[in-house]
């Protein structure tokens, strides 16, 4: 299968302090959904920002669809990577309407695209609303379709469910999976909640202190664990997930 992304020895530190990300290596097949799981400060957001081209790595290489987009000598600007990123606070342009936000990056077919994407997220009546009048869930949906409007080869989501209540979270998780599978793109999202990962991801990457501790398919995630530390983290994450499930029930 074709690889959408290949990362080799990626490292990044801020202001010469401890590595936010340390020699990360992984790859992902096209069309898959990958969850990057870890606690706060584990380097999840840094990884996403490096893939998007918003940060400059200290060392390492990033390939998207087989093409080098970042290494020691070259940095491809974000707008040329065909990557979409939905920020944790959604970053909708507050002075533009929902329709203007969605068509911001488009050059043609603006009307049709707005209509089609607003239908997809069931927000047809909100085309002329401003972001400040939307709820958190609505803002998130708009942010996702704004990114999808450009047909990115890789969709990145930074903690997409962290600001949502339990009911909305569950609904949106499935909605995002359906949208992503429907448009046929690949997705990497970051979360600190294992349940988010188990619910919609095909693969999981476990990050701690900037290093990848485990990288496996969702089915193999808790099998054959050799490392005690990994075992403990997974057990903690599972316990959190169970609590989430109980709360949902």
């Amino acid at each position: 299968m074709n690889k959408i992304i290949e990362i080799k020895g990626l490292s990044k530190s801020y202001d010469g302090k401890k590595d936010a990300l340390s020699s990360c290596t992984f790859s992902m097949d096209t069309g898959k959904i990958c969850a990057v799981v870890g606690e706060s400060g584990s380097g999840k957001s840094t990884l996403l920002r490096l893939i998007a081209g918003l940060e400059r790595p200290d060392s390492g290489q990033i390939k998207i669809k087989g093409k080098i987009v970042s290494d020691d000598t070259l940095i491809m600007p974000p707008q040329h990577r065909h990557v979409g990123l939905v920020f944790q606070d959604f970053a909708l342009f507050p002075h533009l309407t929902v329709a203007q936000n969605i068509t911001f990056g488009l050059k043609t077919n603006k009307k049709e695209t707005v209509k089609r994407l607003l239908q997809l997220i069931k927000m047809e009546d909100y085309a002329h609303a401003y972001p400040t009048s939307l709820s958190g869930g609505q803002e998130q949906r708009v942010a996702i379709v704004r990114t999808l409007a450009l047909n990115p080869e890789l969709l990145l989501l930074d903690e997409p469910f962290s600001n949502l209540d339990a009911g909305l979270k569950s609904e949106l998780r499935q909605e995002i999976r359906q949208i992503v599978k429907k448009v046929g793109t690949s997705m990497i999202f970051i979360t600190h909640d294992l349940y988010d990962a188990i619910d919609i991801a095909d693969e999981i990457i476990l990050l701690k202190d900037g290093s990848i501790l485990r990288n496996s398919s969702i089915t193999d995630f808790s099998k054959n664990i050799q490392n005690e530390e990994v075992e403990k983290i997974i057990s903690d994450l599972k316990s959190n997930a169970r609590r989430t499930l109980e709360l949902l029930d």
Binding site: A52, L54, D72, I75, Q79, G84, F93, G105, G137, T147
Partner: protein, 553 residues
């Protein structure tokens, strides 16, 4: 090392070069002062050291101490009362307390001589109601401290009022529940929490005191700034003026370091929640406060605003026939045009520096923009000397190398004056715009990049529209500062250019103080109008920010 060079090659971009070029160009006056120090002392230096230097140092330090003390008292007392008590006309009084900033201090200085000098208006009035007073001697260092304090206290008032208003109710209530009296709360909690803002306000006062030329010259007080002018114009020794400037720069940086140290030691982060609204906790005045507090508020308004305006209006009435003519309108038009043009250039330079340096990936370049924005803490006289000296070098170079006479380009036009304003006032526009750019965060711009937009498109479509309010405020602030500016304009203005500030100064310097009143009043009226616009703009311009703690539906 090889790794670093690789990264340098990767990270350097056109924005790094543009930032460096613009930053270095703007900062030429500072480099000029430093470089020309190596030319050695001027002919008059020994004479200045023997007869004047001690006077300059003593007077400047005494002025700083005196105005510091008085503005501290006036600014804090008025800020405390308007932030914590409710009384009739409070909003109007809050606004009036800002207005002394609209009157340049040298104009207040002229007005006070007219009020309290021999046969002065106020003296005559006091004599008519039975007081046997001949005059109050204003033309000494105490008079200058009085004038500068009543004209500059709004700097302390403005910064302290903002902090007093933002103190959450919970802090005050906790203090009272712990048994603190009003007095104890003020001295042990409110004042220490406001100290970084007070220090910041006092720093601005100090910079204005060191920059003052008109008032000190009129009152005959030898300060560093008047000394620099005298050395350059009367003693005709530019090199010694540069040495004096360098000494003043050292004094400015000592004060700056002291302020940074004090603010660093006393910076407190207060969580300001929705309960911080002061409306609910403003108390009514009762008991002796009903008399004492309005009197305390009346002092700065009467002495800093009403009396000077009354005196200027009286003079203006006396000279209306001769002074209200086409020339006055022409001068006002020139003044406004120059201020408008310069403010526009300053705004563009500030925006260019902020965004070019943001788009550059080399950390070392950020130092250059810091140097480019230090003009606000360097007195105008020094900037003027730095520019004169460096432009002489350029003129001599063109004359010696290409036999081209380009002096008229520098001194015959307003180009060099506008350049000087850019250096002097860049920080006034730069600081608020940069702060709001940081407040805007990086995610909106990054979203735009990821949606395929270039940096320039993102700037015009996203960042500038969202910064609209701040940009207009910055423009008005710079415009006001330039309208009031005197020393730099005196040194660098072309022969055929006249501004309201300079015209008022020239009349007063010529002992025709009454004639100075009308240009001064036109200047004050224009500045007040701008301040009202600024106030209106701050309230009205839409903020697109999301409401805090928004509920997720």
């Amino acid at each position: 090392m090889q790794f670093r060079i690789k990264h340098l090659k990767r990270d350097i971009n056109q924005w790094s070069f543009y930032t460096m070029a613009i930053g270095l160009f703007v900062a030429i006056p500072v480099f000029a002062i430093v470089i020309y120090l190596f030319d050695g002392v001027g002919e008059m230096w020994r004479h200045i050291v023997n007869y004047f230097l001690l006077d300059y140092i003593q007077n400047s330090l005494f002025l700083l101490l005196g105005t510091g003390f008085l503005t501290f008292f006036l600014g804090i007392s008025s800020a405390w009362i308007v932030s914590n008590y409710d009384f009739p006309f409070r909003r109007l009084i809050e606004w009036l307390l800002f207005l002394p900033l609209a009157i340049p201090s040298y104009i207040v200085a002229y007005a006070y001589v007219g009020l309290l000098g021999n046969g002065g208006s106020l003296i005559t009035y006091l004599q008519s109601i039975g007081f046997s007073i001949q005059k109050v001697e204003m033309m000494n260092i105490f008079g200058l401290i009085w004038v500068l304090s009543f004209s500059l206290f709004p700097y302390v008032y403005a910064s302290t009022r903002t902090v007093f208003k933002s103190h959450p109710n919970s802090i005050r209530e906790t203090a009272y529940l712990l048994g603190a009296s009003n007095r104890r709360y003020f001295f042990s909690v409110a004042l220490p929490l406001a100290s970084p803002a007070i220090i910041g306000g006092l720093f601005l006062v100090f910079m204005e005191v060191l920059n003052d030329y008109g008032a000190a010259k009129y009152y005959g007080i030898n300060t560093f700034t008047t000394g620099i002018f005298r050395t350059w114009t009367a003693l005709e020794d530019l090199q010694s003026a540069i040495y004096l400037s360098a000494l003043l720069v050292v004094l400015v940086f000592l004060i700056n370091s002291l302020v940074n140290w004090l603010r660093g030691k006393r910076s407190y982060a207060i969580k300001v929640g929705q309960q911080s609204s002061t409306h609910s906790r403003r108390k009514s005045l009762n008991g002796s406060k009903r008399i004492i507090y309005p009197l305390l508020l009346a002092i700065p308004i009467v002495f800093g605003l009403l009396l000077p305006i009354a005196q200027l209006s009286y003079w203006a009435m006396l000279t209306l026939d001769t002074m209200l003519n086409a020339e006055l309108f022409w001068i006002a038009l020139q003044s406004i045009s120059v201020a408008f043009g310069a403010a526009f250039f300053i705004l563009i330079t500030a925006l260019v520096l902020i965004f070019f340096s943001k788009w550059n990936y080399l950390n070392s370049v950020h130092f250059i923009k810091k140097v480019a924005t230090i003009g606000y803490v360097i007195p105008g006289a020094i900037i003027g000397i730095g520019i004169i000296r460096s432009s002489q070098t350029v003129i001599n170079f063109f004359s010696d190398t290409f036999h081209l006479k380009i002096g008229y380009l520098f001194y015959g036009s307003s180009v060099i004056l506008i350049y000087a304003y850019v250096f002097r006032f860049l920080a006034v526009a730069y600081n608020p715009i940069e702060a709001n750019t940081l407040k805007l965060g990086k995610y909106l711009a990054e979203s735009s990049y990821l949606l395929g937009s270039s940096k320039i498109k993102t700037l015009f479509k996203i960042e500038l529209p969202l910064l609209r309010g701040t940009i207009i405020s910055a423009f008005l602030l710079v415009f006001i500062d330039i309208l009031k500016e005197l020393p730099l304009t005196l040194i660098l203005k072309p022969y055929n250019l006249q501004t309201l500030a300079v015209k008022a100064y020239e009349y007063a310097d010529d002992e025709r103080v009454a004639e100075a009143a009308l240009p001064a009043l036109v200047l004050i009226f224009t500045i007040t109008l701008m301040m009202m616009l600024l106030n209106y703009g701050n309230k009205k311009l839409t903020s697109f920010g999301k409401p805090a703690n928004k509920q997720m539906k």
